[in-house]
Amino acid sequence: MSKELIRLSDCVVKYDDDIILDHLNLYINDKEFLTLLGPSGCGKTTTLRIIGGFQKPTSGDVFFDGLRINDVPPHKRKVNTVFQKYALFTHMNIFENVAFGLRIAKVPEPEIRTRVEEALALVNLAGYGKRSVNSLSGGQQQRVAIARAIVNRPQVLLLDEPLGALDLKLRKDMQIELKRIQQQVGITFIYVTHDQEEALTMSDTVVVMDKGNIQQIGTPEDIYNEPKNAFVADFIGESNIIDGIMYEDKIVGMYGKKFPCLDSGFSPNEPVDVVIRPEDIDIVPVEQGQLTGTVTEVTFKGMHYDIIVDFRGFKWLIQTTDFSPVGSRIGVKIDPDGFHVMKKSRYSGMFGDYSSYSEEYDELNEDTPEGSDEE
């Protein structure tokens, strides 16, 4: 598609003996919306700070447009950052906040005025110039921070969990807004988030990270439909991950039974992880089921029911619009394209069992963004 703009080559970051980034290799194309996605402490913010120049890699190189920029300080880089908690200058009004970068670049006053007005209009804050920072809501402050960065016409905009402090509804509006802004100004966005839905909604490319390593790079569809390992499958959406055996191409086995699938390229009888998304499972009468299990929990979700089904001690999550009462025996049927087979990895066996289903939901609710979670 377009040309490569940024390359991180074999980057390592260590604090004492803690490895924050573990030999990271990543390239970023011009004009793409790339998201670094992962849980707290996965190294995504560190990666962003390396690109912004706030952090030097312990070893490895950073290239921008073919030039090595390891030693270029932040104020000389052609990137601008939107910070997590806005980091606005509270002693200046909105106009001066946005004009800050232009004044330093000694842009003539009339041009400053038009560019600032344009930038404020872009984020739907036209006419707010004279207001003070503290008179704005969180969402408005975040938009000022975006205008302040974009007004400088950077080649790359870095966004560090910019929507983390906003409430859900505002966050959804801003996701669409950000995508629109990115397409309108036509520059590269590098976006850091721990919210998988946010990543899928906005990105051209998603980079899933964990423990300082890249787990998978791909389009949102790739990441969701073809997760590379149990970590990615679990982190992106809901997944049932079951131990299986790849008997031969297009035949996968689990619970001692054979199922037709679409995957191939494994060695005969190779142990694998099998991912089945909760929405790809059809509930059928017991006698027609490929597998049968007992319903142990039902939760009404509005659009559908989340039901937990016990298949010989291993609990699956199934999303269905048909109600099945707790305790009933049901059969399930999975189409060949509902299976996704992955090679075994260090994450095998860690995810994908819904025995502790309700606890997991509690965790999700507690997973509200905190301040600087990675320093």
Partner: protein
């Protein structure tokens, strides 16, 4: 309701120990020895113009020196982490735990004609200096005694500046000089204003420092007022008038200063 109840002792305290004495001062200032109302004390204040001038000048100089020393120190400490910072803080605070009079006396010992410094100077073959009993010595005493009151408020304000705000400025193209000029300094102004207040006011009204280090040659307002209450010139009415005028001038100074800092948060008005 409950919270109001808690405030009662404070209100009583304020009434008894702040408002009432102020009223007494005002009454004294506008009356004669025989309690007849008069403005004489104010009309004759002109003869003390020199003392007023000297007091405000020395306090002003001391405040400026405190800013010049205190700001870089506070800035450095706020950026510093770990043990060095703890040590430095301790060294700044340590003198404050010692008696004020004692601290000032020790300067007398250091500075006097046959004191520590002069002995040191003659030991290495240099002529002795007249340091004590000069305005310089008084300013030195003020700076030494009140410097922590400049450092601490500035320190706490700079320390609270979000590092991301600094990074944001760098990100937008500001080099470190620009970051300081456009971001750090403006954001630290409330601390500077508090520091000025906390150094200037005690400096203007001090009498111990000028008595001990100025040797009576540099008469300051504090000395003048003290003389009216405890000294030979016993005249509490005149003393009250001087105190009142001094207070009004200080209030005006602080008012003007807070104007400057408007929107930056207000300095503490002590």
């Amino acid at each position: 309701m409950k919270s109001k109840g808690i405030a009662i002792p404070y209100v009583v305290w304020m009434a008894v120990f702040v408002v009432a004495p102020l009223v007494v001062v005002v009454v004294y200032a506008f009356t004669n020895r025989d309690w007849s109302v008069t403005l004489d004390h104010f009309t004759t204040l002109g003869q003390y113009a020199g003392v007023f001038g000297r007091s405000f000048l020395l306090a002003f100089v001391a405040t400026i020196v405190c800013i010049l020393i205190g700001y870089p120190l506070a800035y450095f400490l706020a950026r510093e982490r770990g043990r060095l910072r703890g040590m430095a803080m301790l060294l700044i605070m340590l003198p404050m735990w010692m008696n004020f009079l004692l601290r000032t006396y020790s300067w007398v010992f250091l500075l006097e004609r046959n004191g520590f410094f002069n002995n040191l100077l003659s030991a290495i073959g240099l002529p002795k200096l007249d340091i004590i009993n000069t305005s310089g010595a008084v300013v030195l005493g003020m700076v030494y005694n009140f410097l922590p009151f400049m450092v601490l408020p500035i320190f706490s304000v700079i320390e609270k500046i979000d590092p991301r705000v600094i990074e944001a400025a760098q990100d937008l193209g500001a080099d470190s000089a620009t970051v300081f000029r456009r971001i750090t300094f403006p954001l630290s102004l409330p601390g500077v204003l508090s520091g000025i207040t906390m150094v200037f006011i005690p400096s203007v009204s001090t009498f111990v420092i000028s008595r001990l280090l100025g040797g009576g040659k540099t008469l300051l307002l504090g000395d003048l007022i003290e003389m009216q209450f405890l000294g030979s010139a016993y005249n509490p009415h005149l003393g009250s008038a001087i105190s009142l005028v001094m207070m009004v001038i200080v209030l005006i100074c602080m008012g003007v200063m807070n104007r400057f800092g408007e929107g930056e948060g207000e300095a503490v008005l002590l």
